[in-house]
């Protein structure tokens, strides 16, 4: 059974809602780092700025990682015939986690979970696997919106149902999670992904919630199927006076996996 973790602090960079976010990025990073690293840095910095506690490990959740950098490498190969080493380094899915470890001097475990729309649930589950000494854990969920995906997603959605909605968001959402249940703060845990096995995704999520969180848990399903929407929903719930016990459900159409994040207000 998954154990609850406590949410010590959280923060979000949602570029569409905060178009001037880049002004907050230190000039040295703005000059040399890819945009997705900058998003990761700023969400982590804000999350850690809200507490005196320092994380001892990092878990990142991402659907596609630094996709723009992957595209840049391939453009180099298929176009001009030269790939920049920096593009390649940044294209690796765990580049954000490595960058954050360096920036914030976090020497503990450094994991990256790539689970599409279920990336938040997967990252929280991975955090729960770490030894006590590696808490608090900085969990960060991040994905970027690039033009190529905007062109592709309508065709993907034809095959995979709700691949991405037309107005899907990019974001970087950070959570600092503690292990002790005696701390103040809201509680969080996650389940899945489990194969939906041809069921309606909502039905698959409902069963998962019922089996693990009980009937009293109110289910929040995401109509917007972007990779980061579950993390945005959790962040918004943490900063609201909404229901005491909810499940934020997620579904990845390409893996046919359903998951949920359970939240309890203390």
């Amino acid at each position: 059974m998954q154990q609850f973790l406590s949410v010590i602090s959280s923060s979000a960079i949602i570029p569409r809602r905060e178009p001037e976010w880049e002004k907050e990025v230190p000039a040295s990073l703005k000059r040399r780092d890819p945009r997705i690293w900058q998003m990761a840095y700023l969400a982590a910095s804000r999350t850690l700025g809200k507490t005196d506690l320092k994380p001892n490990s990092i878990v990142i959740g991402t659907g596609l990682g630094a996709l723009d950098e992957t595209k840049n490498v391939l453009d180099g190969v298929y176009g001009e015939g030269f790939s920049s080493p920096r593009n390649f380094i940044a294209s690796v899915h765990n580049s954000m986690a490595g960058k954050l470890a360096m920036e914030f001097r976090i020497t503990g475990p450094n994991l990256t979970m790539c689970e599409g729309q279920n990336s938040l649930a997967s990252a929280i589950i991975a955090a729960g696997l770490l030894s006590d000494k590696y808490f608090p854990v900085l969990v960060l969920v991040i994905d970027e919106r690039i033009e190529l995906l905007d062109r592709i997603h309508p065709f993907m959605s034809e095959k995979c149902g709700r691949y991405l909605s037309a107005d899907w968001e990019e974001a970087s959402v950070g959570f600092l999670l503690g292990k002790s249940l005696h701390q103040e703060g809201n509680l969080i845990r996650a389940f899945g992904p489990v194969p939906a096995a041809g069921k309606d995704p909502e039905e698959a999520c409902r069963k998962l919630v019922r089996d693990n969180a009980g009937d009293s848990c109110e289910m929040m399903s995401e109509s917007d199927s972007s990779y980061v929407k579950p993390a945005i929903s959790v962040f918004e719930w943490l900063n609201s006076s909404d229901q005491k016990h909810v499940a934020v459900c997620s579904y990845s159409p390409v893996s046919d996996g359903a998951a949920f994040v359970e939240l309890i207000k203390k």
Partner: protein
């Protein structure tokens, strides 16, 4: 609670089974040759360990899934009756299905009208697709996709251990897979990390890696379910350690500080003293910095360096698959009591001040496996002989 290795599978350049791959390792076979499965567009085709022929049963699958399923099927032979067993699937990959999607992207750049083929061509780009598919094909209860570059294959073994200890699953199938792709070949070429003579781990003349492709799979379970398996436990997963260097995105810490943390954690969790390690199956990529830092780290932990080996000249560097593929072969070495040789090594580097072991027979009880990756990511696992 002990976590047992109950089944194993391997697909590598020199062999499509654990036994064939292990024989190649023990013979110190050279597994690399000029890349031929696609055009890298480099002036000289790089030396790689490519899989000449995907087993026919899997030939309709995209390459990384085909490799994974071949290893999975071999490992899952260990547990023919899977009824009422909750199996968690953990997948390690760096590039997932990109060997397929990059071909589509190349075509799309030339002809934008083919974008309506995205649905069939691009769907395998997300790493989670691999885990979802393996879960469906094996009747798994849940799946988890990890991508921490070249250390991933060991992390999934450690995470599987935790899942079993927590009781989330009754058994876990840890699978690492990576196929050769233009992204990785050109990427490592741009970093000038491909040795034109093929990788020579720990050798004085070493000048970089040789990429490879392959897959490894391990079925792990506990005392309660081991009786459902057809054979005795192959080994115990006794410790996992993980850390970050916080030094550089691609270069290791020169003193191997991050590596030390991960290895110490793994040995501590195993409940043994460093001196009890009988063999180190090193990461041993063949780059000047990595090999030097790895041995520096090991020397700081072990008062007397145990025998060590690298399998990269035989298997190539199979990225996320390397940790688990080489773990499978390290467990085989543990079972057989064989210290493998290091193909490609000839001349000791005085800066390293140690040479990998010659092949020899010796009873082994504890084997340490190391894997390190981009982002300063470190992982170590200790395997212990099952009595």
């Amino acid at each position: 609670m002990s976590v047992f290795v109950a089944g194993m599978g391997a697909v590598s350049s020199p062999g499509n089974s654990v036994q064939d791959s292990f024989s190649a390792i023990v013979q110190g076979r050279d597994g690399i040759k000029p890349l031929s499965i696609f055009d890298s567009r480099l002036k000289v085709p790089p030396l790689c360990a490519e899989i000449a022929e995907i087993p026919e049963k899997y030939s309709d699958l995209y390459r990384s899934l085909a490799l994974a399923m071949a290893a999975v099927d071999e490992a899952m032979h260990a547990i023919p009756d899977r009824e009422n067993i909750r199996i968690g699937i953990l997948v390690a990959t760096t590039v997932a299905g990109i060997s397929q999607t990059e071909r589509f992207y190349e075509a799309l750049r030339k002809d934008s009208s083919i974008i309506d083929r995205s649905a069939t061509e691009f769907a395998v780009h997300e790493p989670t697709v691999l885990a979802g598919e393996i879960c469906r094909r094996t009747g798994g209860s849940g799946f988890h996709t990890v991508s921490t570059a070249c250390s991933t294959g060991l992390h999934i073994i450690g995470m599987a251990k935790r899942f079993l200890e927590q009781g989330t699953y009754d058994a876990c199938l840890a699978v690492g897979t990576d196929a050769l792709s233009i992204l990785t070949v050109r990427g490592f070429a741009s970093l000038m990390l491909l040795d034109p003579n093929g990788c020579r781990p720990f050798d004085k003349r070493r000048a970089g890696i040789s990429l490879g492709e392959g897959a490894g799979a391990m079925l792990l379970t506990t005392e309660k379910f081991i009786s459902r398996c057809i054979s005795k436990p192959l080994a115990i997963v006794s410790g996992w350690g993980a850390s970050a260097d916080c030094f550089h995105m691609t270069a290791p810490h020169p003193e191997g500080l991050g590596a030390q943390l991960a290895v110490k954690d793994a040995i501590d969790e195993a409940g043994i003293a460093p001196e009890q390690i009988d063999l180190i199956a090193a990461h041993g990529t063949g780059t000047p910095d990595n090999d030097k830092a790895e041995i520096k780290a090991m020397k700081s932990i072990f008062s007397s360096l145990p025998p060590f080996c690298s399998m990269k000249r035989t298997l190539g560097h199979t990225l996320a698959a390397s940790g688990i593929l080489e773990s499978v072969l390290a467990v085989k070495a543990l079972q057989e009591g064989i210290i493998p040789p290091t193909a490609g090594f000839e001349i000791e580097d005085e800066e390293i001040g140690a040479s990998p072991s010659e092949v020899m027979n010796r009873p082994l009880k504890h084997v340490l496996k190391n894997s390190f990756g981009f982002g300063g990511n470190n992982a170590a696992v200790v395997f212990t002989k099952a009595e």
